[in-house]
Symmetry: C2
Amino acid sequence: MATRGGVSPLVIKRLPRYYRFLENLSKKNINRISSGELAIRMGLTASQIRQDLNCFGGFGQQGFGYNVEELKNSIAGILGLNKSRKTVLVGAGNLGRAIATHFDFGKFGFKIIGVFDKKESLAGQIINDMPVRHTVGLENFCRDNKPTAAILCIPENEAEEISELLINLGIKGFWNFSHYDIAINHKDIAVENVHLSDSIMTLSYNLNEIE
Amino acid sequence: MATRGGVSPLVIKRLPRYYRFLENLSKKNINRISSGELAIRMGLTASQIRQDLNCFGGFGQQGFGYNVEELKNSIAGILGLNKSRKTVLVGAGNLGRAIATHFDFGKFGFKIIGVFDKKESLAGQIINDMPVRHTVGLENFCRDNKPTAAILCIPENEAEEISELLINLGIKGFWNFSHYDIAINHKDIAVENVHLSDSIMTLSYNLNEIE
């Protein structure tokens, strides 16, 4: 497979969508699909799909289309979904709890090994078969268990201190639901921000325009 | 205030961030701020801030900066956060439940008036002081109560039918956590998609690159 250096962020952004579509095809027992058919389903053009997949070395055979299972597995590999990164969840309020129970993290290359919250009253509660631990134990836990990823479901004003601590303890990637901008001081860390409130405010704006 | 037609989507995308920053300032009892100070806090330039806000008629007074509370309230108005749109939540699984309990919808211009799920076993459970209703009652409920917004926390394969039904019943805006692309057939409807699984797959990809 070709090296991935220099692959456009736009192509990378489309990879999860390819993966989702291929997964749906696979569930429907569709074994083979042409770039033309895939294009129609995804609202793209066939040539865009061929170009995108060529960035990763190309798949499929002229005139035979793509083998769905093979392509799905290749994209899973490129996305790193076959990993099992030790992950800590910090913040076990409603959102943290929902994220922990709603998501099949294993499917996406992550494995939650510890759940933390600074609220004494949550300590010992069980989320996904794990006890909620007090944040004071986070440092020792990380030294002992060496997680490499973290999910932050904490308020913005707590996120700076916690993210600095976690980066010092070896965390390389954050799924960040707080509004704190981790990447601003850490260009070498992988950060995905989920700004739910920005999203609903944008919906509100757009509704306002048509109401 | 100037009309908003033709405001760049990039400016609109920044409005929720302005609102969040101003809200934080307001909480810290900071009453006045210059575009320069606000720029530093937001990682923007002062001239970009002035340009952005000029799209909406301009705020602040040369040499005096912005009145934080006034600007916050003006942006809230532009974003439509002062509305109280009747909203139905469809899908009361872990995610729907979390969204319903985690979010202060009132703050963002929405008011959940009904929660629906097709699972019989959830019917009657209480979420945010509201009983979960069976989806069979959705149509009558909408005719009686006339909601204008909906939150979809249902799987992709259920979202097409439900969204078509809701649009026919007068829903004008969706906060969409399913992967179904509502906008593809409905350009006149406001849709905000939250693709949580795409976000974590992107994190996985970026982690893979540095691991």
